[in-house]
C-alpha cells in the first residue's frame, strides 16, 4: 500500500492555508476516501459536503489540482506516484469553512425560473423521442461545477446578470418540454442573461453527467431568443402590436 500526500485547504471566510496530510492508498480509493481518512485520523473537524459517495448527488464538488471535480469520483490512482494532490473549495462561491462553500445563490436563481406550465386540457401523451431532449438536462445532479468553471461567474463574478450554465439548461429543459406552453425567452434574455455566454464550453467539459450543456442547451436557447427578438417578421409584428 502506497502513501499519498494531500494538501487540503483549511480555513474560512477570513482566509486560510493548505495543510499537508499523508494518507495510505488502497485499491480503487477515491479522494473522498482520503478526506474521510483525514477526518478519522488527523482532523475530525475537516469540513466537506458529501452524501451518496456514488456520484449521484453532486455534493462533494471541490477543486482537485485546480480542476472542479467530484471528490467521490476522482480516483487516487489517476495521480502519479509521489504527486502531491491539492484539494480546494470551489472558487466561484464564498468559502464557509475548509472545502464547504456558500452555494445558496444557486437556489435563489433556481426559484426565479418560471415553473413547468402545461395547457389546461393536456392529454399527457408524450413520445420517447420528444422527452429525450429534456431528459438529458434532467440528469443534472446540481454539483454546480459548471457554475464554478464559467468565467462569467468565476472571473467576472457577474452573478447579478448571468444565471450560469446550470440554469441555462434548466430554462432550456422547460422550453423543450413537449407539453409546456409558457414562453421563457424574455426571461432567458432579460433575467437570466443568456447573451453573456460566449460558448467557450468550459461548463460542458466539467459536467460529471456528460450533459452537452452548450451544444444542446445554451446554443438552442440563444437561437430561440434570437428568433423572438431579431427575426424581422416578429420584429414587424411587435411593432404593429406595440409589444
Amino acid at each position: 500500500m502506497s502513501v499519498a500526500k494531500l494538501r487540503v485547504f483549511r480555513g474560512d471566510a477570513q482566509g486560510g492555508e493548505e495543510k499537508e496530510y499523508e494518507v495510505p492508498v488502497d485499491e480503487g480509493m477515491v479522494v473522498l476516501d482520503a478526506l474521510f481518512y483525514i477526518q478519522a485520523n488527523y482532523d475530525g473537524d475537516l469540513a466537506i459536503r458529501w452524501n451518496c459517495k456514488a456520484a449521484k448527488c453532486g455534493s462533494c464538488s471541490t477543486e482537485i489540482n485546480g480542476k472542479p471535480s467530484l471528490a467521490c469520483k476522482t480516483r487516487m490512482d489517476t495521480f502519479a506516484e509521489g504527486e502531491t494532490i491539492t484539494v480546494h473549495p470551489l472558487k466561484a462561491f464564498p468559502v464557509i469553512k475548509d472545502l464547504v462553500t456558500d452555494v445558496s445563490w444557486n437556489y435563489e436563481v433556481s426559484k426565479k425560473i418560471p415553473p413547468f406550465t402545461p395547457a389546461e386540457d393536456t392529454e399527457w401523451i408524450m413520445y420517447q423521442e420528444d422527452v429525450e431532449r429534456g431528459q438529458e438536462f434532467r440528469k443534472c445532479i446540481e454539483c454546480f461545477m459548471c457554475q464554478d468553471v464559467c468565467h462569467i461567474l468565476r472571473d467576472h463574478n457577474r452573478k447579478d446578470a448571468f444565471a450560469g450554465p446550470r440554469f441555462m439548461i434548466k430554462i432550456a429543459e422547460r422550453e423543450m418540454h413537449p407539453l409546456d406552453v409558457l414562453d421563457r425567452r424574455e426571461f432567458a434574455r432579460e433575467e437570466a442573461g443568456v447573451g453573456f455566454c460566449n460558448i467557450t464550453k468550459c461548463c460542458t467539459e466539467v459536467c460529471p453527467e456528460d450533459i452537452h450543456i452548450t451544444d444542446n442547451g445554451i446554443i438552442p436557447l440563444k437561437e430561440r431568443v434570437v428568433d423572438k427578438y431579431y427575426d424581422p417578421l416578429s420584429w414587424l409584428l411587435r411593432k404593429i402590436k406595440g409589444k
Partner: protein, 572 residues
C-alpha cells in the same frame, strides 16, 4: 445560555427526501404554514439515489394489472406481516401519485403509445415500475423540489434536528443546530412530520448516504413513540463488491429487471435452485440469501460475490436502459458491463421497521407526531418489494401532509421551557468540553463492524446476543466523546449526535432480531429456519422506551377484512 433563533410554523417536516417534500407540498396546499428542514442541501437527500423505478399499477404495459394485484404482491412480499391498511392505500393511490408527478413536470420513459413506460421487478406480477433509465429517484426529487419551491414552503437547509419537544403528551416543537454555524435553533410547531429515512449507516457495507443515521427513529423513540418490526432490515442482493472503496454501492435491481443473469464461479445459474419460477426476479430477501449462500459454500466470484451479467442485451440497450450502472462500473471498477459480468454481494439497503403509524394520516402513537417514508414502519412488513419505496413516499407523504395540517389546524403554540432547551444545548456541546473521551469516528467504525458481523443476512441467537453485548459496550464508550475544533461546520461534532441515534436503532434491530424466533422475509434465523405462520407470523414486534430502558414486546397484527383476505384464497 447562548442565543438561538426561534421559528414558528403550524407544521414542520423533518427530512427533505421524497416523503418530506411530498408531505410539505400537501401540508402547504392545505393552508398550513409549513417548514421543510433538510439535513443537507435541498435535493441531495437519499431519494436522489433511487434507481430502478416507482411501482404503480398504471397498467400501461401489462393491461391486466390493477390495485388488487399490487396489493397482493406487496402483502406476499412482506410475508403478510404488513399493515394491510397501508398496503391497500398504497396500491390504490400510487397510480394517481405517479401521474401527479407528470403533471408537475417529470419526464418518465415512454411506451410506444406515448404513455409512462413500466418495467419488470422482483415480486411484482406485472411490469409495474415507472422509470427514467436507472435514475428514477433523481427525477422524482427534482420534480418534487421544483414543485416545493413554488408552493410557499419555508425551506431550512443544512439544519440538523436533534430533539423533539413535548408539552404533556403532545408534540410542540423541535430543537437542533445549523450545520454551517453550529448555532442552535428552535422550531415551534403544532404538528411534526418525521421523514428522516433509514438507518443504513450503522452498517459497514451499505447503499445508504451519510444522512441515514436513524435520527427520526431515535427521536420518536425518545419522545415515547412506538417502533414496529425493527428486526426487518433489507439487504439488497446486489451491491458492488470491488474495489474496497466502493463496496456496498447499489447495483440497481433494474439490471435483473432488464434480463440480467446471476451465476456462480462454476457458471451455474444458481437461482434455479432457490426459486426456479421467478429466478433472478424473486424477492430481494430470497436473492440476497441465495448469493450469500453461494459465496459461503465456496462458489463465489474472485472478490467474494456472484456474477451478474446483462451484456447479452447488447451494448446499445444496456447504455440506454442502465446508463448510471454503465458509468458506475466503468469509472469505479474499470469494468465494461456491456462486455462482461459485474461482481455483486448483498448490501444494507432499507429498514422495513420504523415508527408505528396509522395508515390514514401517518400519525404515530404520540399526538402531533407523524411519520412518512422509510422512517415509518408497517407498510412493507417483513420484506419490501423493489419500487414500493418510491410509491410509498408519495402516497404516505401526501397523507402525512394532510393529516398533520388537519391536526395542527386551530391549535395554539405551546410555551417551550427555557430549562429544557438549555439542557439540550448543554448535552450537545458536551464533546467540546470533555477534556478526555473517545473519538466518535472510532466508535462509529466499531459499531459498523458489529452490525455487519452479528446482525447480518443470516442470524443465530449466539451471534445476535454477542452483537447486543458489544452494542452495550459501545453505548458506554459513547457516553464520553471528545472532539476538536470549533462549532462551525464540524463533521466530528455532527457525528456525536448521529452516533447516539445509530446506537439506539442498532439496539432496537438487535433486540427485535433476538426476540423473533422464526425466519420471515429479511429476518433469517439459522437456528429457526422455518416460518411460523400460525403464531409468530401474526405478531408485530413493538419497541418502546420504558423505565429508562428499551422494551421489546409483541402485539397481534390487525387482521384484514374478509373482502381483502378473500383475494388471497381465490389464488389457491
Amino acid at each position: 445560555m447562548e442565543k438561538y433563533e426561534t421559528h414558528t410554523h403550524d407544521v414542520i417536516v423533518i427530512g427533505a427526501g421524497g416523503a418530506g417534500l411530498r408531505a410539505a407540498i400537501e401540508s402547504s396546499a392545505q393552508g398550513a404554514s409549513t417548514a421543510l428542514i433538510c439535513k443537507s442541501l435541498l435535493g441531495k437527500a437519499h431519494t436522489v439515489m433511487a434507481e430502478g423505478g416507482v411501482a404503480a399499477a398504471l397498467a400501461n404495459v401489462d393491461t391486466k394489472d390493477n390495485w388488487e394485484t399490487h396489493f397482493k404482491d406487496t402483502m406476499k412480499g412482506g410475508k403478510m406481516l404488513n399493515n394491510w391498511q397501508m398496503a391497500l392505500y398504497h396500491a390504490q393511490e400510487a397510480p394517481e401519485r405517479v401521474r401527479e408527478l407528470e403533471y408537475w413536470g417529470a419526464l418518465f420513459d415512454r411506451t410506444k403509445e406515448g404513455r409512462i413506460n413500466q418495467r419488470a421487478f422482483g415480486g411484482h406480477t406485472w411490469k409495474r415500475l415507472a422509470h427514467v433509465g436507472d435514475r428514477t429517484g433523481l427525477e422524482m426529487i427534482r420534480t418534487l423540489q421544483e414543485k416545493g419551491i413554488h408552493s410557499g414552503i419555508d425551506v431550512y437547509m443544512e439544519c440538523t434536528i436533534t430533539h423533539l419537544i413535548k408539552d404533556g403528551d403532545r408534540e410542540t416543537g423541535a430543537f437542533g443546530y445549523w450545520r454551517e454555524s453550529g448555532k442552535f435553533v428552535l422550531f415551534k410547531a403544532n404538528a411534526i412530520i418525521l421523514a428522516t429515512g433509514g438507518v443504513g449507516k450503522a452498517y459497514k457495507y451499505t447503499s445508504n448516504s451519510w444522512e441515514y443515521t436513524g435520527d427520526g427513529h431515535s427521536m420518536a423513540y425518545e419522545a415515547g413513540a412506538e417502533l414496529i418490526d425493527m428486526e426487518f432490515i433489507q439487504f439488497h442482493p446486489t451491491g458492488m463488491v470491488w474495489p474496497p472503496s466502493v463496496r456496498g454501492i447499489l447495483v440497481t435491481e433494474a439490471v435483473r429487471g432488464e434480463g440480467g443473469i446471476l451465476t456462480n464461479s462454476e457458471g451455474e445459474r444458481f437461482m434455479e435452485k432457490y426459486d426456479p419460477e421467478r429466478m433472478e426476479l424473486s424477492t430481494r430477501d430470497v436473492v440476497a440469501r441465495s448469493i450469500y449462500t453461494e459465496v459461503e459454500q465456496g462458489r463465489g466470484s474472485p472478490h467474494g460475490g456472484a456474477f451478474l451479467d446483462v451484456s447479452h442485451r447488447g451494448a446499445d440497450y444496456v447504455k440506454r436502459k442502465l446508463p448510471s450502472m454503465y458509468h458506475q462500473f466503468m469509472e469505479f471498477a474499470d469494468i465494461d458491463i456491456t462486455k462482461g459480468p459485474m461482481e455483486v454481494f448483498p448490501t444494507t439497503h432499507y429498514v422495513m421497521g420504523g415508527v408505528k403509524v396509522e395508515g390514514d394520516t401517518c400519525s404515530s402513537t404520540v399526538p402531533g407526531l407523524f411519520a412518512a417514508g422509510e422512517v415509518a414502519g408497517g407498510m412493507h412488513g417483513a420484506n419490501r418489494l423493489g419500487g414500493n419505496s418510491l410509491s410509498d413516499l408519495l402516497v404516505f407523504g401526501k397523507r402525512a401532509g394532510e393529516g398533520a395540517a388537519a391536526y395542527a389546524s386551530g391549535k395554539s403554540h405551546a410555551q417551550v421551557s427555557a430549562e429544557l432547551v438549555e439542557g439540550f444545548a448543554n448535552e450537545l456541546r458536551e464533546p467540546f468540553n470533555n477534556t478526555q473521551g473517545e473519538n466518535p469516528y472510532t466508535i462509529h467504525q466499531d459499531l459498523q463492524d458489529v452490525m455487519q458481523l452479528y446482525i447480518g443476512v443470516f442470524r443465530t441467537e449466539e451471534n445476535i446476543q454477542t452483537g447486543i453485548d458489544k452494542i452495550e459496550v459501545l453505548k458506554e464508550r459513547a457516553k464520553t466523546l471528545k472532539i476538536e475544533g470549533s462549532v462551525m461546520f464540524n463533521p466530528g461534532w455532527h457525528l456525536c449526535r448521529d452516533l447516539k441515534s445509530m446506537l439506539i436503532v442498532s439496539e432496537a434491530l438487535a433486540r427485535c432480531a433476538l426476540a423473533r424466533k422464526e425466519s420471515r422475509g429479511a429476518h433469517s434465523r439459522v437456528d429457526y429456519p422455518e416460518s411460523d405462520d400460525e403464531v409468530l407470523g401474526k405478531l408485530n414486534s413493538i419497541v418502546s422506551f420504558k423505565d429508562g430502558a428499551m422494551d421489546v414486546a409483541t402485539r397481534p397484527i390487525v387482521e384484514m377484512p374478509e373482502e381483502l383476505s378473500k383475494l388471497f384464497t381465490e389464488d389457491k
